[in-house]
């Protein structure tokens, strides 16, 4: 019977192939050990969820199990590349909300602001400014790469007008707050390598330009870029690449500066230097800067070019990850640099009451300012 069916099925070879493919792939998929991290996508992969009665009844288990099967699918990277190539063959200039620009630049397709979150975050920031009227605060919002590199966007694509939004955020600030507009200097250098092609961050050079603008604004001497020892790390494929997985994307090069420091304290723990050099060996290279995002980091150095007689000057930088490659340059402007990331801190007032700061710098990338879920901590 079976033999007869199989012989008859030779007329329909796709049936046999389909059955073989589904069966063998299922066995293959189930027998390979799970990976916990995807290098290609630069994110942790879901592992087998724990079964419980309540999770099963709510449908929660099923949802997690679906995600687990997807994340651990055998040959995942190959399938992802197949999709990305197909999308390109369909003449698409985007994949997974990442737009393919000119000269190998990838951009986030940021076409709409989450209005509710944005308004709330703006309110938290204002409240923060008003809470400390005696404190000099600088407010700096850094645009996304597409805003500066507009020429490289595909024709007809209109994204959030960050320049206009930043203008609006800067308007009507209280007296103790200075707006630090970095747009003009970034715009002026738009032909330089100021944003990564494959990542959502600015390059160290972009951050350096912002430090210079900041120093210029307050009459300080900027860091002497040429004089600082620098290292280059090639083969950086950033977060935009991880999302789009564009076949044939051009890798970025990370430059980092070996600013001589006296001590670096990350989360109350002394660290050796400003950079987590091991991270430069992995996919997640940007995480090397300042040992990734941590609650509180303190840098002390003797590099300050703007010494104030008889005083140890201090700056507090409240930032998102854009600040990580920016912060080291502040060593040339202050004796001590305190860096805080609200995502990993209970509340901002701990920091503010912690000590006297000559300057407080609140610096965020526009997109993370508009969408961040932790800015409410500024109020407390």
């Amino acid at each position: 019977m079976l033999k007869k069916t199989l012989r008859a099925l030779r007329e329909y070879p796709w049936v046999i192939l389909f059955a073989l493919f589904i069966l063998s792939y299922t066995v293959l998929d189930m027998s390979f050990t799970n990976k916990s991290y995807s290098e290609l996508e630069n994110r942790p992969l879901k592992t087998r969820p724990k079964m419980s009665f309540s999770a099963l009844m709510s449908g929660d288990y099923d949802e997690k199990f679906d995600a687990y099967i997807n994340d651990q699918f055998f040959g995942r990277d190959g399938w992802i590349t197949l999709k990305s190539r197909t999308e390109s063959a369909l003449l698409k200039t985007e994949n997974n909300e990442i737009v393919y620009g000119k000269d190998g630049y990838l951009f986030k397709k940021y076409d709409r602001i989450d209005g509710e979150k944005y308004q709330a975050n703006e309110r938290y920031i204002r409240e923060f400014f008003e809470k400390y009227p005696q404190q000099e605060i600088t407010f700096c919002v850094v645009p996304n790469s597409y805003e500066i590199l507009k020429d490289k966007l595909p024709a007809g694509l209109s994204l959030v007008d960050e320049a206009a939004e930043i203008e609006r955020l800067y308007a009507g600030l209280p007296d103790n707050v200075t707006a630090q507009n970095v747009y003009p200097t970034l715009w002026e250098h738009r032909d330089d390598y100021i944003y990564y092609r494959t990542d959502h961050h600015w390059t160290t050079y972009g951050a350096y330009l912002a430090v210079c603008a900041y120093a210029g604004e307050r009459g300080m001497i900027p860091p002497p870029l040429e004089a600082i020892d620098s290292q280059k790390v090639p083969n950086f494929y950033g977060t935009y690449f991880s999302k789009a997985k564009k076949a044939g994307a051009k890798a970025d090069v990370i430059t980092y500066y070996e600013v001589p420091v006296r001590s670096v304290t990350v989360a109350d723990e002394e660290r050796d230097g400003l950079y987590d050099l091991q991270k430069f060996e992995t996919r997640d290279k940007y995480a090397a800067f300042l040992w990734g995002n941590n609650n509180r980091t303190v840098i002390e150095s003797d590099q300050n070019l703007n010494k104030v007689e008889g005083k140890k000057t201090r700056v507090l930088l409240i930032k998102d990850s854009y600040g990580n490659c920016f912060a080291p340059f502040l060593c040339y402007l202050y004796d001590e640099v305190v860096i805080a990331d609200l995502r990993y801190l209970p509340k901002a007032s701990d920091l503010m009451e912690d000590g006297q700061y000559d300057d407080v710098l609140l610096m965020y990338n526009f997109e993370s300012l508009a969408s961040d879920g932790y800015l409410a901590k500024l109020r407390y």
């Binding site: 099925l9 796709w14 493919f21 099923d62 679906d66 995942r76 024709a155 694509l157």
Partner: protein, 464 residues
Amino acid sequence: MLFSSLLFLFRFIPVVFLVYYILPFRYKNFWLLLSSLFFYAWGEPKYFPIMLSSILVNYVAALLLERFRERKNLRRGVFIVSLIFTVGWLLLFKYTDFFIQNINAVTGLAIPPFLSGPGGKVMLPLGISFYTFQILSYTIDVYRGKVRAEHNFVNFGTFVTLFPQLIAGPIVKYTDINEELHTRTVTPQMLGDGVRLFIMGLGSKVLLANNVGALWDTVTRLGYAEVSTPLAWLGLIAYSFQIYFDFSGYSLMAIGLGKCLGFNFPQNFNYPYISKSVTEFWRRWHMTLGSWFREYVYIPLGGNRVGRVRLYLNLFVVWFLTGFWHGANWNFIFWGLYFLVLLVIEKTFLLRRLERSRVLSRCYLLFAVVISWALFAVSDLSSLGALFGRLFSLHGGEDWVYYLRNYGVTLLLCAFFSTPLLKKWYERIQNRRWLITAGLAAVLSLCVGYLVDATYNPFLYFNF
């Protein structure tokens, strides 16, 4: 569980089919019932008892209808109770909140919603509109004496829950498969057709529908009032393709899986977008729903063998219900009545002219249908107004350049696959089985790729 998921392809299918083929025939239906219940409960087990209760009540009701063959009134009583019970669940879950909203709006009362959670998201029991209609077809036919009651509970349960068609159709009448429930064989040809149809259906859903659906999704996200007129049209055309390929893809997958199990489900779509009139369109679109309404509503009401006024009333009832079946909202009712108006116009004078023309009639049909999808897709009336504002008064802008470039090829592919050209070609190359195999392998691989890296894989029938 969804067909278009890795879980279904690489866990559910191998286990269910392997065991199914190994088991002797007398256990096959029981295994199908178990698998189907698992399939249904996966993802949302809490509404599971509702379906079971409907199955149980109608199973018993049909047996009673058979036993009380001679006692007319008792028979009618049993029939009405089972009808109320079965339709009651549908009304309760699908329509209560709609009625409450409207009562609130008219009277100014503030009756709290029955189902809507805090986010306003209503979760219907999955597939309730589909399986309710299937169950009704059975009980009504038994009541009419058209078919004998099913004595075996497993067989009846299998009919209702049969996983291929459980959640998104086709609406299989009991009389369509009652013989196959008792005895059936899977021939090699059925396997050949089944696997082919399943893969093509999967491709329709994953490669075409999801892909163009993302364009409509973008237009919705940007806001109808924010896009240019060309982009609004592109978006609406994309939605028209999305709903067709999604829905017909699901039906194809269901039919294909059915064939692999030995069932022949009725065809559900027959290239509706090449129709020359709305009348023809509805003979080609969601055919099992149309025939269900014809058989269980329109004809019992007297069909077209009635006076003119009564005929229009009958048509009104059918199209009101057709619209309302698709969702508990005014826009779906308008959508149904919109077709009623066009059908009546065609019936009175237009149809004969339409059938004579080749190009113009198709342009008319496509325009009429695309507009109907706007009514269908946008449930909030002020957004609908905004969308129509964009469609019919010129708003410039360059945004469409980007989207035309990104979706142009996909839209062309969709247009191609909306016609029977591929089918004609297939009929010519039928003997070149390795060519077909290669084509199917390519479609399947691409589907797996898109499912692994899925960003947009919606299930459109939660409202149904």
